[in-house]
Amino acid sequence: MLKELRIAGFGGQGVILAAHILGRAVSIHEGGYATMTQNYGPEARGGAASAALVVSDQPVLYPYAVSLDVLVAMSSEAYTRFVPEVREGGMLLVEEDLVPLDQKAQHLRVYGIPATRLAEELGKKMVLNVIMVGFFCAITGIVVRDAAMKSVKDAVPARFLDLNLKAFERGYEYGVELLAKGPAKGEQQMAVPQEAEV
């Protein structure tokens, strides 16, 4: 089992930390293997921020993600830039208020969440990345919930722990509810133009 993932958004959304939490969960709390790489460059400030993860039950040899099983896009720019890297039939998880979809999402399984709004409801916009991590775990099942929660505990300062665990739960629940509506709902809800693949 080898999965290639990318989490992308704009600087300040915490996408690197989100990838870090997932990678740590897999390699330390699940006993699997995870290799995280980041895109470095002048565009990293203010513009696109992105981190890729290769996770596997075997040691990871090739370090880069080249054919994504899952793209988590948290900005429109991130979506446009990275959606061509998603493999046919791969998954696309989006911050649905920030990412307008187009034809490029047609053959993907798309799941949306208003992560920023949910974060604001919890009282702090900055936890949207952890909401996304919870959502990711629920939808993809690639990272086990308990391992991810342990990893959240490792990664955030103690005074923000409760808030972050709540954020994780919120994202996770949202994902579970979305899945309960049936696998096709994601696409319909996100109104991907043309026929979406189930």
């Binding site: 870090h20 990678g23 740590r24 390699s27 330390i28 293997y33 995870a34 290799t35 995280m36 790489t37 980041q38 470095y40 460059g41 990871v60 040899l61 090739y62 370090p63 880069y64």
Partner: protein, 385 residues
Amino acid sequence: MKADQRCVMTGTHFINGDAACCEGALSAGARFAAGYPITPSTEIVERFAARAPQVGGLFIQMEDELASSIAIQGMVWGGQKSFTVTSGPGYSLMMEHIGLAAISETPCVFVDVQRGGPSTGLPTLPAQGDMMQARFGSHGDYVTIAICPNSPQECYDLTVKCFNLAEKFRVPVMFMMDECVGHMTEKVVIPPAEEIDLYPRRHASKPPGEFQLFEAGEELVPEMAHAGEGYKLYVTGLTHDKRGYPALNPAAQRELVGRLFEKIRRAQDELTMVEAEGLEDADVVVVSYGITSRVAQKAIQAARDKGLKVGKLRLICVWPFPEKLIRELAGKVKALVMPELNMGQVVLELERCAGGQCKVIGVPHPGGTVHKPVEILEAIERGAR
């Protein structure tokens, strides 16, 4: 000698290669780093600057790489373990002082997180283009040791090893990372201090007056005295005699430079550090180092799936080159394949040691990313024909 627990971050971490290298240096007992931060090595000194005060260490951000590479040597003669960290452009500037470390037998570690070049090249992308520079970069004749990690875990483990080798042989040791390994985040296990063996400094066993600063000791390596201990220290880049005094004549040159080479030549077996697998019945052996060895492993698996007999030889220590091993291997196989992230550097040495006994196929790559496994696979298939 064991590591000092106060400096060892024992535990399981999810950190990048740069961070792991810094922790390795701290575990190895480095208490001083001087550097001029440069991508993609910056995170090493950034972390060291934060960690050093916790362990009684010091980081100085110097005015440039020339200053960095000499400041660390001053600190070594002051009694501490030291290192500097850079990437291509800065490594070029350090060359003169690498020669000084070689002739003055100053044990220290130079970390080069290689990026695409020449010149400023590709600051944020990987290459392995400094390998020949690590061997021959400084003027004059000298030998060094160069070690290549292929994971953050090895960035930790092998940094400790680099410091140990520096102390044991009293040479500047080159830790040849690359951007990919430096910026890649993976699980890194840092053991308890009591499991980390450190090679202690070869300190003067004779009292001042009887002690000669550059007298060949065990394994041809002189013992060392530090400033402020009452010994007479004369440390110079000029050719010197046993006392360390300049001796500008052919006999002194022969004795000194001869010994600098001989102390490493004698240790060839110990310095043959490789990871080998499937060599016994291999038709083709892929010889690689650093990050490229992981991509090569993927190609090796694909070739085996096609029924080819392929072995793996990963060089952990590239300099000195494992000459004996390659000579033997070249007599048994059809081909040696060497992928590297440069246009063909270490492959020249591979060719030399193979001595025409088998095909040697380089898989050059200008850097900026790693090879596609298929590029290496094609070379394996050519070798097997």
